[in-house]
């Protein structure tokens, strides 16, 4: 009993901080979500609105579009990151000249702040001045404009995210690959499996917990993408890259619609938790299956 009290005593600073920075804002947003509160409304202050903000959300087509767009962005970005990350991890698991140099260079994007990533990509891709549109036009006669072409803007944000976060996926995959037991791989080779069969029937099942954990982390990141996309496209052209985080930002800050923005944040959090829970369950099932 005494030991228990000591444990709580040492845990208390972390719990207090967690309560202040995590739970208090959460409950505050939950509370504000039930109010009509716009700083520039004729009726000043907060006015109880019940579930009205949530009812509005259901019919808010731009919000629903932004949710779907965000999901699409996350799926494409994570899939590409997994493929490239796996290939690079395999490469880094072998020895080759200049490996250390490549590993350092490859990890640099991880160290750059998202805002700086967005600003850099904006400088690279800005129509009229950026080197990317300039050389695409000069060498391939290809018109590239992230401020006028919705599809190009979307894919540019995906590529930027891939550039930024693939090193993270590579590192987790590398950790998984180096920890794989050698026996099943050797046994499969002895049994006559080719490299593709070894990859698909042995490596992927063994790496599944690592892959799911990586997807879990990256998905949560991707669903709350704001800063780098905000710097690159500002959510445009029109709504082509207005992901949910950016949409919420527009509602809460420029529009100062705090009640509605809070409801929107909560619903997005709910979706994120739901998807994460599905992944978590999948990981749990895998582990139970292994036992």
């Amino acid at each position: 009993m005494r030991q228990n009290r000591t444990a709580w005593f040492f845990l208390s600073p972390s719990l207090i901080i967690l309560f202040i920075v995590g739970l208090v804002p959460f409950f505050y947003i939950l509370y504000v979500g039930f109010f009509d509160w716009n700083a520039f409304s004729l009726q000043k202050g907060m006015h109880y609105a019940g579930l009205e903000n949530y009812r509005r959300l259901v019919f808010d087509q731009p919000f629903i579009n932004s949710l779907l767009l965000t999901f699409r962005f996350a799926v494409y970005a994570i899939l590409v990151q997994l493929v490239i990350g796996y290939v690079l991890a395999n490469l880094l698991a072998t020895d080759f000249p200049g490996k250390w140099f490549f590993r350092v260079i490859h990890t640099i994007p991880l160290m750059v702040a998202p805002l700086a990533v967005g600003a850099t990509w904006r400088l690279l891709t800005i129509p009229g001045f950026g080197p990317v549109p300039f050389y695409l036009d000069r060498w391939f006669d290809f018109e590239y404009s992230i401020s006028a072409n919705a599809s190009q803007a979307f894919w540019t944000t995906v590529i930027m995210d891939v550039w930024h976060w693939t090193p993270f996926v590579t590192l987790t995959m590398l950790a998984g690959l180096t920890a794989l037991p050698r026996e099943p791989l050797e046994q499969a080779l002895v049994d006559g499996a080719n490299r593709l069969q070894v990859f698909w029937y042995v490596k992927v099942p063994l790496l599944r917990p690592i892959i799911l954990s990586t997807v879990f982390i990256r998905l949560m990141d991707a669903l709350r993408t704001v800063d780098e996309v905000w710097m690159l496209t500002g959510g445009g052209p029109a709504a082509a890259t207005r992901y949910t985080g950016l949409y919420i930002w527009r509602i809460v800050f420029p529009k100062t619609d705090y009640g509605y923005g809070s409801a929107m944040s909560l619903l997005t959090l709910y979706f994120t938790i739901l998807i994460s829970w599905l992944l978590y369950t999948a990981i749990g099932q895998q582990r139970r299956g292994e036992r």
Binding site: N38, A39, F40, S41, L42, Q43, K44, P62, I126, P127, G128, F129, P133, S145, I146, S147, A148, N149, A150, T233, G234, G235, G236, P237, A238, A239, A240, T241, R242, R250, F253, P254, K255, T256, D257
Partner: protein, 477 residues
């Protein structure tokens, strides 16, 4: 000899008197600021040439005189609003003074965010600087007054969004002859929208034929930024006779069927015309906000266009930043029939009279010290150099200063136009829901820019959304 001695003595007396007066001024600031010496004032402003001048030049001068340090944070327009509004709404007191753009002041006054400066100076006569007088300011200060005439912001920048054109191109005899041969009238600054379009087309083709990075016009059409909303509703739509964003201020409605003008035929024609100019504009136009449009013109990439006047001075005179020094002309923007007459009669306007002031939030923790700072920047003595650096004038007397007269010549009459025809321009309408209605309208403008919907569809949907938003905020119900 006697006369010479008399002259020397006279000069000595006069200069001595001047020195004494200066010393007295300095003493006043030091005495008035003594209780606040060591205080640091924090402010936030949009990063504009006048704001940067205040941060880089005036703040150190003020600190040397008073011992009060001023930390002014010039940031992007979006961030400036975010920070200022959040601070004032929460009452956190992070900022002692905030930039109040002319278009947001009505919202701030409606929310009672700002300190009444007139009253504050009455309440603290010991802080009233001898050189500071609200009467020195141009009529632009009226935008920062309430119904009783009390001032809530000290103007620090004021300018018009002006039509700029390249005098070297417009004055080239060969180009003039080619233009006249093609269009049947002499090349001159555009007076009508058709002329603007003709000139834009002509110079775009001229750029292509001569392998130049030159296009016919600027367009501030960032397809995901509010600046495109502002260019359309504050600079373009008025030249077609659509004022106050097309919102009927008597019943707070935007749709034509409810008495508004936002989706009127004139507004639709204006938007269609403006969007059509993109074919004659540099490729960066759909990513251009206010700063980028000025940069485009300064880089010599456009023959004409609407540019915020605060940039005129550096574009016309700073060879380190501009490729078109000495080649900039200014004029009243092209207008539809009847707009000039309406502007002269005071029932309409030809474009946007922009600017801003510094005001003190109620939440400031150093109201008295900030009052001194705001008077310091509002003194006549600091105005001329500030005007030359930032193309802004807030005092009537500044127009006659030799420094400004010289800069006026370099800009081919920008300051004269501001002084003599500034009354034809108008600031943003006095809407207490400025950012809220803009937020619901601008997505439709962006869709029109990228061609997802037509101009007519955009304005029909925008007007309906504006009506709905105003009703939600409690206006026009």
């Amino acid at each position: 000899m006697k006369k010479l001695i008399t002259l020397v003595v006279l000069l000595a007396v006069v200069s001595g008197f001047g020195l004494t007066a200066n010393a007295q001024d300095d003493n006043w600031w030091a005495t008035a600021a003594a209780p606040y010496a060591g205080v640091t004032l924090h402010g936030v402003s949009e990063s504009t040439p006048p704001s940067n001048y205040a941060a880089d030049v005036l703040a150190p001068q003020f600190e040397a005189l008073t011992g009060i340090k001023v930390e002014l944070e010039p940031t992007s327009w979006d961030q400036m609003y975010d920070k200022a509004i959040k601070d004032m709404e929460a009452g956190s007191g992070i900022y002692d003074f905030v930039y109040i753009e002319q278009d947001i002041v009505f919202s701030y006054l409606a929310q009672d965010y700002l300190v009444d400066l007139t009253q504050a100076l009455v309440d603290h006569p010991e802080l009233a600087a001898p050189d500071f007088n609200f009467d020195d300011f141009t009529t632009f200060i009226d935008d920062f007054k309430n119904a009783e005439g009390h001032v809530f912001g000290v103007p620090m920048e004021a300018f018009v969004k002006i039509y700029l054109y390249r005098t070297d191109l417009f004055g080239d005899p060969e180009i003039q002859a080619a233009f006249e041969a093609e269009y049947g009238y002499p090349l001159a600054p555009a007076a009508t929208h058709q002329q603007h379009e003709d000139i834009a087309k002509f110079f775009t083709e001229y750029g292509e034929e001569n392998d130049l990075d030159l296009w016919g016009t600027t367009v501030q059409a960032a397809s995901g930024h509010s600046s495109s909303f502002y260019e359309f509703f504050e600079s373009i739509a008025p030249t077609f006779g659509v004022y106050n964003w097309g919102i009927n201020e008597e019943n707070w409605k935007a749709t034509v069927e409810n008495g508004g003008q936002m989706n009127s035929d004139a507004a639709k024609e204006a938007l269609a015309w403006w969007v059509s100019l993109l074919q004659y504009a540099p490729p960066e136009s759909t990513a251009s906000t206010w700063d980028e449009v000025a940069a485009t013109f300064a880089a010599g990439r456009a023959a004409q266009g609407w540019v915020y006047g605060e940039n005129t001075a550096w574009i016309a005179s700073d060879p380190d930043r501009s490729q078109v020094v000495g080649q900039v002309g200014v004029a009243i923007p092209p207008l539809a029939e009847g707009v000039m007459e309406a502007a002269e009669a005071g029932t309409g306007y030809v474009g946007y009279y922009d600017g801003g002031a510094f005001g003190i939030p109620h939440s400031s923790k150093n109201i008295e010290a900030t009052l001194l700072w705001l008077q310091f920047i509002g003194q006549p003595s600091v105005q001329p150099e500030w005007a030359a650096a930032g193309s802004r004038i807030v005092h009537d007397a500044t127009f006659d200063d030799p420094l400004v007269v010289e800069m006026d010549a370099q800009t081919n009459g920008y300051y004269t136009l501001l002084q003599e025809q500034g009354y034809l321009f108008k600031g943003a309408p006095a809407h207490p829901f400025h950012a809220q209605v803009r937020s619901v309208v601008e997505p439709f403008i962006w869709q029109a820019i990228v061609g997802e919907i037509t101009a007519a569809e955009a304005l029909d949907q925008a007007a309906a959304a504006a009506d709905e938003e105003m009703a939600r905020l409690g206006y026009g119900q």
